[in-house]
Each structure stands twice: as structure tokens, then as C-alpha cells.
């Protein structure tokens, strides 16, 4: 439960000075004015209407809000939108290209690496970031990269299978 908020019995009138923000999201340049206190997660969802990235805890503990920012997997719920100035952002909506699912998405489907699907975008992005920097990860490296993503439905084994199959197929088919 939140701590006693009596310090806010005064309406805080410090006024929000909006900041003009520009970044690239899924390959598209984006320019918006935002309130400094808006998180990157809310920016993606509420401003850019990219609903694939989810909030499941809001404190960086569950990984559901994972996106790729400048090549790194990060939890967008604890990043201010303004911190992403000039950044390259990829969300789950950026995985499929030209109406074709990526190998990663195909393998998540084929290995049944999802059930309710709420944690899935986060897992996909963590996996994408992992394979982009390490195309041939060991089991330990996979677990290290993905243990910040919580799932209550799958028990993780099908996800592990999907990641390994993706890595294998990408090495073969994309020559990565």
C-alpha cells in the first residue's frame, strides 16, 4: 500500500513544462511534446497508440514492458519518455516485416511459447535483443537474458524451446 500521502494535501502547482521529444520507433521518426513525468511505456501506448507493450507491475520487476532501446533490452515502465530523446526504439509491433511474421514469432507460435499472451511481447523483445548481440547463446545465457521476464502460464520450458529453435533457424536461414 502507498505510504501516507498527506504531503500532497497541497495541490502541487509547479506546472509541467512540456519537452519536445524526437526518437525513432520501429523505424519511423516521431516528434511529440510530452510531460516530463510521462514514462516511456505510457508514451508508446498513449501517445503512439502502440498497445503491444504492456504494464504488469510498473516497477521494472516483471519485464512485460520490455522494449529495445538503442540495442538494449530495457523495462520501459521505469524510463522517462524524455530520456529516450534521439533513441532507436523497437517494440513488438516492429518485429514482423512486410506482413510476414519473423522467425522468432513463428517459433513462439510453433513451440506454444505463450498462453494468455500478456507477457509475450516482453519475452519477444528480450529474446530479440539477446539474439541480436549473441546469435548462438548457451542455455545459461538465455536464462540470464530472459529471467527478468515473468510468466505465470507457460512454466518457461516452451519459451526456452522457442528461443533455441529461433537461434538455430536464424543462424541457418539468415546466416547471422
Amino acid at each position: 500500500m502507498d505510504k501516507d500521502c498527506s504531503m500532497y494535501t497541497e495541490h502541487v502547482e509547479s506546472g509541467k513544462r512540456k519537452v519536445t521529444l524526437s526518437m525513432t520507433v520501429n523505424g519511423r521518426p516521431v516528434v511529440r511534446d510530452v510531460d516530463p513525468n510521462m514514462t516511456l511505456l505510457h508514451f508508446l501506448r498513449d501517445n503512439l497508440k502502440l498497445f503491444g507493450t504492456k504494464e504488469a507491475c510498473g516497477e521494472g520487476e516483471c519485464g512485460a514492458c520490455t522494449i529495445i532501446m538503442n540495442g538494449k533490452a530495457v523495462t520501459s515502465c521505469i524510463i522517462l519518455a524524455v530520456e529516450a530523446e534521439g533513441a532507436q526504439i523497437t517494440t513488438v509491433e516492429g518485429l514482423a516485416k512486410d506482413g510476414k511474421l519473423s522467425i522468432l514469432q513463428e517459433e513462439f507460435i510453433s513451440q506454444d511459447a505463450l498462453q494468455c499472451g500478456f507477457c509475450t511481447p516482453g519475452f519477444l523483445m528480450s529474446t530479440r535483443a539477446l539474439l541480436d548481440s549473441n546469435p548462438n547463446p548457451t542455455d545459461e545465457e538465455i536464462m540470464e537474458a530472459l529471467s527478468g521476464n515473468l510468466c505465470r502460464c507457460t512454466g518457461y520450458i516452451p519459451i526456452m524451446n522457442a528461443v533455441k529453435r529461433t537461434a538455430e533457424r536464424e543462424r541457418k536461414e539468415l546466416g547471422s
Binding site: 500500500m1 502507498d2 501516507d4 500521502c5 498527506s6 500532497y8 494535501t9 495541490h11 501506448r45 502502440l50 498497445f51 503491444g52 504492456k54 504494464e55 504488469a56 507491475c57 510498473g58 516497477e59 520487476e61 516483471c62 517494440t91 513488438v92 509491433e93 518485429l95 514482423a96 511474421l101 514469432q105 513462439f108 507460435i109 510453433s110 513451440q111 506454444d112 505463450l114 498462453q115 494468455c116 499472451g117 500478456f118 507477457c119 509475450t120 511481447p121 519477444l124 538465455i142 536464462m143 540470464e144 530472459l146 529471467s147 527478468g148 521476464n149 515473468l150 510468466c151 505465470r152 502460464c153 507457460t154 512454466g155 518457461y156 520450458i157 516452451p158 519459451i159 526456452m160 529453435r165
Partner: protein
């Protein structure tokens, strides 16, 4: 699981198709209630009580109401609506008194979330803290009543039995045979006590509901992340005094339920806020902390088991007393308590049995349905007791179980006859014991030798059973309509919460109609205005009941198709068969017609048309159930038993207490695999969730009964690093003769008895019997350090709720 190991004898049932909604989920297209935005929608926030039990002296809402952007502020004074699935003991907002730390004291609807948050901070509440009821023992003393009006609570009479002037929401009993005599005649009487704490469901999508309450009529429109749209409709109608037809419930994609979304939760509050805000849609969403602290849990429970057994291993009598720490409100928890009286002794043939199950009020966050519906809890007691008995008797635990397990010809404790069609728990146990490589108990020498290395291995196993716990008139239904292209769209009343219901139902339809599964479109969003009724999506009943309903609908559709095709082909319906989307004559298959040609009626060459748009319905009501006798618990409550067993192989670091789960083998008599991928997913998910209960999870309350771990910081669930190295699934297929293709449900079962198997393996490894969950590294180390051979409920310090 790269290769398909399971081979189905059917063309479509049993095939490992991809989940039907997988693509929406991997592309971010799937819209959950959490994502929904409606025009004019307001956002709500709640103020939770900081005290477990307190008088609400005053609430000053003036500053909150004055904040620009605030459209409604509510507190207990504003509504006397009572809610409760089985007992109407809960107000939508606490009035006069709070009953748990987390109880909703006030709520605000505003233009945006931030304004709502600010408004909450501007509420001025004065409390007078009162002495709370900490645990079941204190509750049973009844010096303080959690519900002072317990004598007057409206409830299902004859099903639940609140006790006068007490904290017992319901006292349910069952009795079979002659217990006293059987105990007297037993060579050995063994009494033990076991306990486990409350745990959270942790769906990744927290509870969320959007309600639009029409200001000009009784109409209420609801969008919710929920498992039971028709139950929401019925309870809303009941609580608000309106017709069910005035309530409309929509269920988009659901981000996990696990029983926590089985009942009704945020919908009444959202309704009141919407009414107060002039009918604007109001979204009430739980933050993750509120999900832990405000929304209900699985109940903590203490089980006392007395078993009368002979030296040759025959169990004569079992007496069980289950005390459920069900928290502040009865909700679904009271039904969990009731269910224990017919299912709470495990899958054993016991001629003399007595179960007392008390659902008890305390001032904790209340309990609700949770995967397993009390069976994980009762099996923790039962399967540990069984293991301890086998230790005492010096009989191998596998042999001991095999001597006493249910088999055809024996009766359950509610008096139901077990037949071949019920399934075989013995086959499940034998399969897992074999696969885990059980060669008998460890000797003390082996143990000591291993101990010196710092790591000790252990193997353990446990059996399980569960049938759906539901009213005798539970029903499922399906509606099928054919499109002009010969493809089919189907509506069911069950919700796909990730278990794959839509895919499984589609497979059954595809099998019946002999169409590719891609041609069966199951409507993913439930709308109670259009979809046909289904009681609740709980209880692992949808495969069985929904499947039967789907089969009936398909067969009705085929009958209608054949009637028209017979005219078109100038023959009789009895000479027609169907395959690959066509109806054809059995003797001369060249006389045939595609589904598409009759889907919207059949037109003769000259234009005359017969038939009409093809559609069919199927309903299945639970077959042959009865209510339970209130005193003896005898009757026919169980539609379909699914039996199973788990075996685990673990390694314990004796200095840190860390448990490495090396291998889990799980077997279930599913009757008929509908889709191996889906079942394997349920098994992996259930096993890991079970390991969470076994090793990791548990609510912790302080002496003020305040929840100490209301976030992921200290309320942990297993991560990928915590999964077992290997999970082997074994599917036993003794068909259930009245099930769809012989199938039974298996959704909850993978979680049940996982902690029991681990507890038994811990005994094998350490020679110590633990009676309390979780078997955390700390519990293991302190248990070893104590030097005791049994770590009892009384030995465990500062564990949640049951000290």
C-alpha cells in the same frame, strides 16, 4: 519438446495444432481489457485501508471533489449494495468498519489516472484502529467477530452453514462408515498437522473492469478481464436488483486468471462510479500492489489428519479437520471449504472417513477460487501424511499407495462408484515412479555419505485427484453457424484465458465436421448478448462440458445438412456420410455436394430454394449430479474425476537450503489427448506454479495483520532460472465414456500435489519431515539446524498467518 511424441488415432482430435489466437498475441494485436479505451472513459483509483480492522471515524472528500478533472468520489456511505457469490457479506466500499488491510475505503473516477491518484491523496480519512483477528485459532475463539452480523447474512441455505455468533463462514462435513470402530480396530493411529500460507494468483494482467452504467435505465455494460461473464451478469443483477437482461458483459482477451478472475471483483465498484459520474464509462484497474493487497488470494489452510492403519498397510479410517484461513469475506473461498468434504482425502479407497471443513473469517485479505480449488492444500496434508505413514510402517511408499488407491469397484468418500470409465490413478502413479527411476527409499548410510559432499539427492512422488466443484445444474453450450463458403463460426460461453479453450473446441468441431481447423472460427470475444451460456470458466470443465456441447451442436448441424443434401441429391439422409467439407452418398460417392452449396440454403437449377442458413446449437448440462447430504456429505458431486501423479528428483544444498529441481514427471489419465501442445503447456505451467507454492511463495503478515510483501520485491514467483531442468509428461488414456472422445479436463491438476511430491522428496534427501510450506532455503536450513526429524507447524516462526 521438439518432436511430436504423442500419436493420435483421430484425424484432428489429438493433433498438436498451433494455438488459434497465437498470431494476435505475438504481434501485439491482441487487445485486453487493460488496453481498451472507450469514448469519454474515466479512470479510477482506490483508497485502501491501512488497518486490518478499524472503525472509519470520518472521511472528508471535499478536497478530492474540488480537484479539477474529478468526476466522482465514493465511499461506503454512498452505497449499501452487497455482493457475494455464495454469501452476501461484502459491501462494495467499506462502511463503518474495515475488515482487512487492503479493504476499499474510497474510490475516485477522474479524467486521467494522475488526477485520480491526486484525488486519492487528497482524501482525509480518520480511523480508529481496532484489535484484529490474526489467525484461525483466534478466529475460532470468537472473542472478536469479523462479521458481527454473521447470523443475518444472506447465503445459500442448505449448502453453506455459517455458525451462529462465530467467525465460521461455513462448516461443512462428510461422514462415511463407522469411524470409531475402524480406529479401534487399527494397529496404528497416526495424527499429524500440516499447514500452508496464502499465495497470490499473479496473472500478468491485473484485474481490470470498465463499466458504463446507463443513467436513463437499468442497463449496465461491462468489459472485464474475467473468467465468468455469465456469473458476473447474474451477480450484478442480483446485487443491483435488476434483470439479467439489463446486464451486458464483454470479455476481450484475458491476461491470465488462475481462478482469481472466476468470480466478480471490480465490476460493482466500476458500476457505482459510472453511475455517480453520470453514466460515463469508468475503468477500474488494479495496480500490481493492489493485485496482491486488495484482490483475493488462495486461502491459507491448516489440516489435521488422523489415520487408522494396519501394519500390513491397509488404511481403515481417516479423519480430517481442515481450517481454512479465508480472510475477511466468504467470496469463492467458502466453496473451496465445502469442496474439501468430498474430495479432501485424495484418491484413496477409505471405507471409514470423516471430514470437517471450516471456512473461517480472519482480518486478512480474503480468499477466492485458485487453480486446484483447495486440492493442492488438502493434498499437501494427505500426501505428506501418506508418506509419513509409509515411513512409520516401513513399507515402500509406492507399494503403500498401491494398496490403498481407488480402483474399479471401490467407492469415493462421497459414495460414488469408481469404474474403468473413471480413469486410473494407479496407472498414473506407476508411470511416474517408473520414469523417475524409483528404487526405494534412501538408507541413512547413503544419506550420510551424500551429506558430506554438501549436496543430497532425493526422490518423491504424490498422487492427486480432482473433479469440477460446481453446482449440479452447471451447463455449457455452443452455437455454430456456417458461412457461405462452407466454413464455420462458433460461439461458446467459456473464456479462453490462455488455456487454449478456443483451440480445443475448434479441434473437436473440426473432427466432427471433418473440416480443417482453419475453417473453424471461434469467436474470441465473449458477449453475453450473443454468446450462449456457460456457467464459469473454471474447474477444468470446459474441455469436458464445452466439448460435449460442441459435439452436439456439430451433430445437429450435420443432421440439418444431410436433410437438405438428401433432397438435393435425391436420396435419404441415412445413406449420406460426410468428409472433407462434402456430404456424399455412401454407395456412390459421385453423388455429393459441398457444404458451401447448402450453407445458406440449396438452390435448384431452376432457382427454387430449400433449407436456409445453416446453424445449430448444443447444450450440455452436468449429467447425473446431486447435492450433498448436509450431514454425511454423501451424494454425486463429481462429474468427471481426473487422476494424476507427480514424481520429482531434487538436489538440496544442505548449507544454503537451495533446492534444485532436476526432473519432474507428471502423468494424468486424460482419457483422450485433445491437443498435446496445449496439455504440455498446462503441465509445464502448473508444475512451475506448483513449485512456486512448494519452495517460494507465501503471504506474510505482521502482528497488525498488515501484508508485508505486497509487491514483486518480496512476493516472488518462479522465473526462467527456477524452472526444473526437465519436465516429462505422460498421458494415460482410459477414456471417460461420457466425455468428448473420452476426454477429461486437466487444467488445474498439474499444480496439485507438486508441493507434496517435493515435500516427500525432501524427506528422502534429508530424512526430515516438513509439515509447513514453503520449503524455502531458509526453512530447509533452519529445519536441519534444529536437529529435529519433524518440522511442525508450531516449530516455524513468523510464517504467514498460521502461527
Amino acid at each position: 519438446m521438439d518432436e511430436k511424441r504423442y500419436q493420435s488415432k483421430h484425424k484432428r482430435v489429438g493433433q498438436a495444432y498451433d494455438r488459434k489466437d497465437a498470431r494476435e498475441k505475438v504481434t501485439g494485436q491482441a487487445i485486453y481489457t487493460y488496453d481498451l479505451e472507450l469514448p469519454g472513459m474515466l479512470h479510477a483509483r482506490c483508497l485502501l485501508s491501512p488497518y486490518a480492522r478499524a472503525k472509519i471515524v470520518s472521511i472528508d472528500t471535499s478536497k478530492a471533489k474540488a480537484l479539477p478533472g474529478v468526476r466522482a468520489v465514493l465511499c461506503g456511505e454512498d452505497s449499501d449494495i452487497l455482493v457475494g457469490l455464495y454469501m452476501q457479506d461484502k459491501r462494495v466500499l467499506a462502511k463503518g468498519e474495515t475488515r482487512y488491510q487492503g479493504d476499499v475505503v474510497a474510490a475516485v473516477a477522474a479524467d486521467d489516472e494522475e488526477t485520480a491518484e491526486r484525488a486519492i491523496a487528497l482524501l482525509d480519512v480518520v480511523y480508529e484502529p481496532l484489535q484484529p483477528v490474526h489467525d484461525v485459532d483466534e478466529a475460532l475463539e470468537a472473542k472478536i467477530l469479523v462479521h458481527e452480523d454473521i447470523n443475518d447474512l444472506k447465503h445459500y441455505v442448505g449448502v453453506f452453514f455459517p455458525q451462529k455468533d462465530s467467525n465460521i463462514a461455513s462448516w461443512n462435513k462428510s461422514k462415511k462408515g463407522d469411524l470409531e470402530k475402524a480406529f479401534e480396530e487399527s494397529d496404528l493411529q497416526v495424527v499429524n498437522e500440516f499447514s500452508l500460507p496464502a499465495v497470490a494468483h499473479v496473472p500478468m494482467e491485473t484485474h481490470v473492469a470498465i463499466v458504463q452504467a446507463d443513467p436513463f435505465s437499468n442497463k449496465i455494460r461491462i468489459w472485464a478481464s474475467a473468467q465468468s461473464p455469465f456469473a458476473i451478469r447474474q451477480i450484478m443483477a442480483d446485487s443491483f436488483g435488476i434483470s439479467e437482461s439489463d446486464v451486458e458483459v464483454h470479455i476481450p482477451y484475458v491476461g491470465g486468471g488462475f481462478g482469481g478472475k472466476a468470480g466478480i471483483h471490480l465490476e460493482p465498484l466500476a458500476t457505482l462510479l459510472s453511475k455517480a459520474a453520470g453514466g460515463a464509462p469508468v475503468k477500474v484497474r488494479a495496480t500490481r500492489e493492489q493485485e496482491f493487497n486488495q484482490l483475493p488470494t488462495r486461502a491459507g489452510m491448516r489440516g489435521r489428519i488422523k489415520t487408522g492403519v494396519n501394519l500390513d498397510g491397509k488404511i481403515n479410517a481417516v479423519q480430517a479437520v481442515y481450517d481454512w484461513d479465508s480472510g475477511a469475506y466468504a467470496d469463492y473461498g467458502v466453496n473451496v471449504g465445502k469442496t474439501a468434504v468430498y474430495s479432501g482425502l485424495g484418491p484413496y479407497a477409505v471405507d471409514n472417513a470423516c471430514i470437517d471443513s471450516k471456512t473461517i473469517y480472519t482480518n486478512k485479505v480474503f480468499s477466492t477460487a485458485y487453480r486446484g480449488f483447495g486440492h493442492l492444500e488438502t493434498h499437501w496434508s494427505i500426501e505428506r501424511q501418506i508418506d509419513i505413514l509409509s515411513q512409520r510402517l516401513g513399507i515402500d511408499p509406492y507399494e503403500f499407495r498401491m494398496m490403498n488407491l481407488l480402483e474399479p469397484g471401490k467407492h469415493t468418500i462421497s459414495g460414488e462408484l469408481v469404474t474403468k470409465s473413471t480413469g486410473s490413478v494407479k496407472e498414473c502413479l506407476t508411470a511416474v515412479v517408473k520414469e523417475i527411476g524409483w528404487t526405494g527409499r534412501k538408507t541413512e548410510e547413503e544419506r550420510q555419505r551424500e551429506w558430506k559432499t554438501g549436496k543430497v539427492r532425493g526422490k518423491g512422488f504424490a498422487v492427486l485427484q480432482k473433479a469440477p466443484a460446481m453446482p449440479a445444474n452447471t451447463a455449457s453450450s455452443a452455437i455454430i453457424q456456417m458461412n457461405g463458403d462452407g466454413r464455420v463460426r462458433m460461439m461458446i460461453g467459456g473464456v479462453d484465458i490462455g488455456q487454449g479453450a478456443n483451440t480445443a473446441m475448434a479441434q473437436i468441431a473440426a473432427q466432427e465436421l471433418d473440416l480443417p481447423i482453419e475453417y473453424i472460427n471461434v469467436m474470441t470475444e465473449i458477449d453475453t448478448r450473443a454468446n450462449p451460456y456457460d456457467w464459469n470458466t473454471v474447474a477444468s470443465k470446459l474441455t469436458f462440458m464445452g466439448g460435449n456441447a460442441v459435439i452436439k451442436a456439430c451433430r445437429e448441424l450435420l443432421d440439418k445438412m444431410k436433410a437438405i443434401a438428401a433432397q438435393a441429391l435425391k436420396t435419404e439422409p441415412e445413406y449420406l456420410a460426410h468428409a472433407n467439407g462434402e456430404v456424399y452418398h455412401v454407395h456412390n460417392p459421385e453423388r455429393r455436394i459441398s457444404y458451401a452449396k447448402i450453407a445458406l440454403g440449396y438452390m435448384y437449377p431452376n432457382g427454387t430454394s430449400i433449407g436456409g442458413p445453416l446453424m445449430a446449437t448444443g447444450t450440455y448440462i452436468a449429467d447425473g449430479l446431486t447435492n450433498l447430504d448436509p450431514e454425511t456429505g454423501q451424494g454425486s458431486p463429481a462429474l468427471v474425476w481426473t487422476f494424476g501423479a507427480h514424481a520429482v528428483d531434487i538436489e538440496i544444498d544442505v548449507e544454503t537450503g537451495n533446492i534444485d529441481v532436476l526432473k519432474v514427471v507428471s502423468a494424468f489419465d486424460v482419457g483422450q489427448v485433445i491437443n498435446e501442445k496445449l496439455i504440455y503447456g498446462q503441465i509445464c505451467g502448473g508444475v512451475v506454479q506448483g513449485l512456486g507454492s512448494a519452495i517460494l511463495e507465501g503471504y506474510k503478515f505482521n502482528e497488525d495483520v498488515r501484508l508485508m510483501n505486497p509487491s514483486f520485491t518480496d512476493n516472488k514467483i518462479p522465473t526462467m532460472k527456477d524452472m526444473p531442468k526437465e519436465i516429462v509428461a505422460i498421458y494415460i488414456e482410459n477414456p471417460q465414456m461420457n466425455g468428448p472422445y473420452g476426454a477429461r479436463g486437466v487444467a488445474e491438476h498439474p499444480m496439485i500435489s507438486v508441493p507434496s511430491a517435493v515435500g516427500n522428496a525432501v524427506y528422502d534427501a534429508l530424512g526430515i519431515n516438513f509439515h509447513v510450506l514453503p520449503l524455502s532455503p531458509e526453512a530447509i536450513v533452519l529445519g536441519i539446524q534444529s536437529g529435529k526429524k519433524s518440522i511442525l507447524c508450531t516449530d516455524v516462526d513468523c510464517l504467514p498467518g498460521l502461527h
